[in-house]
Symmetry: C2
């Protein structure tokens, strides 16, 4: 059975997840290659395998070929640490897939599956796949060539990884991975090759490039590795949480007296996207306040008293705004019932003109056109201007210290 197949892991240092801390020097690393330990089978994995075995009504494939994964990583002092991974890869998972795949694993709607495998959260893989899929918009629209992504996070041992690659082969999926530990990444590559699964390593190449640039070695530790556990009680942690809580409290002009405490103040008419933009920026650590512009309602004096360089005005095409407002009214159950001019085209145009006049009276406020922009697109425009105004670089850039 796959989950209890002979898995032998030999070696030392950061290349192996179950090994103790890497030695301070590599002088003994060659000798330690003789150390052979058995990875304990994870109860979770056993459960999966048992469950599948039971559902498919047959025993899991026991035939196997053996493969050896050799990796060379470096410990913190930069000395090379060799790991060797001997593993039995069962033959042709495709062979038993047709008879054995369970209903829940089938791609019912016919979408091409992409498996994202990570020893951490997997959000990096998801983000990269999402960006890359943007290159196939023309084909994804209306699900002409549908894609389904499946994120497997916290995959920190070779057994689980093998199970997933095997499953990918069965489902005809490709595998995209972010695996910090070199032996795991190496194994993913080798197992995918073995089973004819297309694969792409997201984290490896960029980590290697940064290592070369910094002249130091990557730790090879996954996010959950105890050695890597960082206290969340960092300055950054508190700053981000404070920004989120501040932003929630100020939403929709709730506390205009606090505008001076905000890093960024957004203003614009209802449904110009102030709230989602505020929250997106808050997640990045900026305290944001937003002030709605409503015709015939006075704006708070504080909006004109704060540093105008931190105020950003949002504008939007009236036709698009009308359709967003209509959708909003529908959601709120307002359509037809409430006698409101909220969605009326004349009113929409008049309100946008009213806002435009206020913006013209405050020429320091940049006016950002948000029509057909995603939240993260508007966010990058705001932040570029914000950082440019703060730093006055010759080239607009958003800088961050690590």
């Amino acid at each position: 059975m796959i989950c209890s197949s002979s898995l032998r892991l030999s070696g030392s240092g950061t290349g192996t997840r179950n090994s103790p801390s890497p030695p301070a020097s590599s002088e003994n690393s060659d000798e330690s290659l003789s150390q052979v330990r058995r990875i304990k089978a994870s109860p979770q994995l056993n459960r999966w395998s048992r469950a599948r075995s039971i559902r498919s009504g047959r025993k899991l494939d026991r035939s196997a070929v053996s493969a050896t994964v050799r990796t060379e990583s470096r410990d913190k002092s930069g000395s090379p640490v060799r790991s060797e991974l001997e593993i039995e890869l069962p033959m042709s998972p495709k062979g038993d897939s047709r008879s054995g795949s369970s209903d829940d694993e089938k791609e019912i709607n016919g979408g091409k599956p992409i498996f994202m495998v990570s020893d951490g959260t997997g959000w990096t893989a998801e983000h990269a796949v999402n960006a890359a899929l943007g290159q196939f918009d023309y084909c994804l629209v209306d699900r002409v060539c549908p894609v389904n992504t499946h994120l497997f996070s916290g995959i920190d041992d070779v057994e689980k990884l093998m199970e997933i690659v095997k499953q990918a082969a069965k489902e005809g999926a490709m595998v995209v991975y972010t695996l910090a530990e070199p032996s795991m990444a190496q194994f993913a590559k080798q197992a995918c090759q073995h089973w004819g699964v297309a694969s792409s390593d997201i984290l490896g190449p960029i980590t290697e490039a940064i290592a070369g640039h910094l002249g130091v070695s990557p730790s090879g530790l996954s996010r959950w590795a105890p050695e890597r556990q960082k206290s969340p009680l960092s300055e950054e942690y508190f700053r981000r949480i404070e920004a989120i809580e501040f932003t929630i409290k100020q939403d929709d002009g709730a506390l205009p007296r606090n505008l001076h405490m905000a890093d960024i103040v957004l203003t614009g008419v209802s449904r110009s996207g102030k709230t989602p933009l505020s929250i997106y920026l808050a997640q990045k650590g900026y305290k944001v306040a937003n002030v709605p512009i409503v015709m015939n309602i006075d704006l708070p004096n504080t909006l004109f008293e704060v540093n105008p360089e931190k105020v950003f005005a949002l504008t939007i095409n009236p036709v698009v705004l009308q359709s967003i407002r209509r959708a909003r009214a529908k959601t709120l159950g307002m359509d037809g019932e409430l006698k409101t001019n909220y969605c009326d085209m004349d009113y929409v145009k008049e309100e946008l003109e009213y806002a435009g006049k206020i913006f013209a009276q405050n020429p320091v406020w940049p006016v950002i056109e948000v029509t057909s922009k995603a939240i993260e697109e508007t966010a990058v425009i705001v932040l570029r201007l914000y950082h440019d105004r703060k730093n006055r670089c010759s080239m607009p850039r958003i800088s961050k210290r690590y």
Copy 2:
């Protein structure tokens, strides 16, 4: 002057940003290689260059060598489209950097610079770099080997790109890029090689792998390309905004009568991280409500009436909780002034025990330990359980349709 150096772009199809829409068939692509157009110098770039020239008190380097970038991309029908880019690369920007770099471009605090260059927002590059830097935590902590990242977004022409690579050479930065257009990516690679700048392509390899998997070609269009403009008024857009607005309104148990409308309900004592987690999940499109547990205050009945499979309980180490509460009290200016037992260790422990008893009475609620977990780590645990409960897969996965 670099910004007006001879830039010639020849070719057709998706490989070139300034060319018209790709031809429906590639039959004419060879002939169209003779088309030669001049890219107009961007006024923004001229402004940068002039500014630098003025500040450095000297003329910019005019010496140059010429380089040719040839790329082969595919149009939507899968037919190859060749582009050719002839460009003059000035010699050794490092040579003039030492004398000419302005104050605002110097790495004052000595951090190694990483330039992230994107024709879109750049958040993908930022996310990947951030994840990769996690591999250097041990060295980044206390800024032992400090790093500064600089994000250049919306870089959609070769001139700006060249300016940035040149600047990277001057500042000793490496360049990480996400450039959808093949000729731009090719140019970045070639220019970095030319000037001895380390570089890494984030988007190219994963896009190529997905193209192979799907059997269709990437569009080669950057996010801002008019052909790629997607209306933000998609179902997904409204769902995300609705989730964010719902979540903001329910924060801190504000509207317990709405719990049945939430996708996910979080509960836990004050400062166990419910709010930032709610907002993070809302950004991903989930409607989240959170209900605080406070000793001697009755919980809303609705918490016990909703489907218990959507309720997630958060718990935290008392010592850590105390320190978070102390920091909170300090921020609010409560420390010393208010006679509160909020931060008192006995009270903290008692409240956690009280919460623990409620959790024990509701065994379906998973209890998630959040101590020393980042928000996105807890989020992935919640979502894995949430999707697992919904889909009952043999392997826990978070699935998404495209």
